[in-house]
Symmetry: C2
Subunit: 339 residues, 2 copies
């Protein structure tokens, strides 16, 4: 007996949208985790030790989940997407390792960063190892299109890192400059992760373009909200660490908007704490006061909603499907999340 | 006796904002028009005849005005910006000529297009002549930075044309694809026009970046609103021509949003009229009904407001100045204009 599928399934709540999406691709994700664990092995014990430290500490696996979900949405029944999702996770992990060295970060997700524990040299080299592993996985897949998409994404990622190096610690970076950095560093990998799903399913280019639009704009929204949350008083009340970007002197959208809207005294403050790295007790609180007064946090979140709206419309091309609903909910989750 | 400049001058209305900006740079614009008229001369009479047809028919001269205004905002006192503004107008005119040939347009701004009157061959070649003239003007200016900015902008423009050729007549183009085309075809030249103002004034890179952000986002907003107005029922009531893009089968943001939000019957309609070019009486009205029902016109204008907000914040870096106020008003004018 066939189930009756309503034309529009009722929308779920944004809370736990990521868990819902994860549940929909659970078997695939299990397989991806196995690929990741197998392929980070090496006869050099330090490699799995260091790589595993970050990979096991585990983020949300958002990027590989997007690959799996988009493949599912496109009706793909094969297994290629599993290796490619692992590949995306390797590329992402490699850039995190290199980022932490470049930024001289001491913490990542509240734990000591890999470079703190294993040193800069090993961290850089294991990043290179993971990049190489990802291209081995691409080679095994054998598709020239996959190779093109992922090599493009890696080149853009590297360009984004260099661009950030030359601009992101300048308090007078423009909003456009910021957008170009986060597009290169975050959004293009989201876009690539989503596109792979249509490529393996051999779907028309219109669907590939739709999912590229979804991924890219979800990535922009995701990064902007990430940057907003780093100054969120609500976060602090929830006992979360805030102010990481502030302590590093990283110039993100909330600061750019606040700086543009500030008076000269406040601009001097931002230059002292972020550009000259002369911070003292109470400076973070002072920054949050200025960010609130100028509406910078509110309006940065508003900017993110624009990208969320583009991502939402992009999915309009697809027929009703549980994965489609979950991908829509992930947009709301990204915009409304508090962690 | 020094005039007292209030910290914040009261904001004017958006109506005629462009006229107000034009009035602020009136002398410079007069000089630019002279450069344009002198430099489009040639011993080959067809050249000034054809170039003059389009240049005299005159658009709003928005791009050269932006160069003049930004130079003024940056406190520039010299005369370099006049030739560079003329250069921007030549580049813009050259792309219009080539566009009309490529699109096989019969009308531009309600009059017969140059290619209709003078033929395709002459129109293409006079476009090339104007490109060459603009690089002569750049050469006379002598700044390597100006050469870099404008040669980059021209390369991006040409890429945008080719990109449009391969995507913009496909009803399933993505919103991201559309944004990339209008950025390349319109917004990057706006950005270059604004940047030149800071470059001649030798201002810090932060101001150049701010005006690049202003120009680029104003350009995006400008083009989106242009595309919305082509379907505006209010426009039609005012006796303006609408439906040019529709008749050409050009896929713009309102159509992209409507298509993504449509049912299969409506999608068939869009494919028939825009992709298969089978249009009959009443189709434009039918399209406007779908664009309204799906909220596509309203939401496309909403997308434009996002870019307007970015442009507005970018000017925050500059001290109070009549030109700053006028540039702010031009954003509102761009978003609210009905022609």
């Amino acid at each position: 007996m066939a189930a009756i599928i309503p034309l529009e399934t009722p929308r779920r709540k944004a809370t736990n949208a990521l868990e819902q999406l994860t549940a929909l691709v659970q078997d695939d994700l299990q397989a991806v985790n196995e690929v990741v664990l197998t392929r980070m092995q090496s006869s050099v014990p330090l490699i799995p030790q260091l790589a595993g430290y970050l990979i096991a500490a585990g983020g949300k696996r958002l990027r590989p989940i997007l690959t799996l979900a988009c493949a599912r949405l496109c009706g793909y029944e094969g297994a290629r997407h599993r290796k490619l999702a692992a590949c995306i996770e390797f590329i992402h992990t490699a850039t995190l390792l290199h980022d932490d060295v470049v930024d001289e970060s001491e913490l990542r997700r509240g734990s000591p960063s890999a470079n703190t524990l294993f040193g800069n040299k090993a961290t850089v080299l294991v990043g290179d190892f993971l990049f190489s592993r990802s291209f081995q996985l691409i080679s095994e897949d054998g598709s020239p299109e996959v190779l093109r998409i992922l090599s493009d994404a890696c080149a853009v990622l590297a360009e984004g890192e260099v661009l950030q190096l030359t601009t992101s610690y300048n308090v007078q970076i423009s909003e456009q400059g910021y957008l170009e950095v986060i597009r290169a560093k975050t959004a293009d990998l989201f876009a690539a992760a989503c596109r792979l799903g249509t490529v393996v399913a051999e779907r028309p280019v219109a669907e590939e373009e739709a999912l590229r639009t979804y991924g890219l704009n979800l990535g922009l929204a995701f990064q902007i909200i990430d940057d907003v949350l780093d100054y969120s008083a609500e976060q602090a009340q929830l006992g979360k660490t805030i102010g990481d970007d502030f302590r590093e002197g990283k110039i993100t959208l909330p600061v750019i908007l606040a700086y543009n809207r500030s008076n000269e005294l406040e601009r001097q403050f931002f230059r002292r704490v972020l550009q000259d790295h002369q911070q003292k007790d109470g400076d973070l609180q002072q920054a949050i006061i200025i960010l609130s007064r100028t509406g910078a946090l509110k309006d940065a979140a508003e900017r993110a909603r624009h990208y969320g709206a583009i991502a939402r419309d992009a999915l309009g091309l697809f027929k009703p499907h549980p994965v489609k609903d979950a991908l829509l909910d992930v947009i709301d989750f990204t915009l409304e999340r508090e962690y």
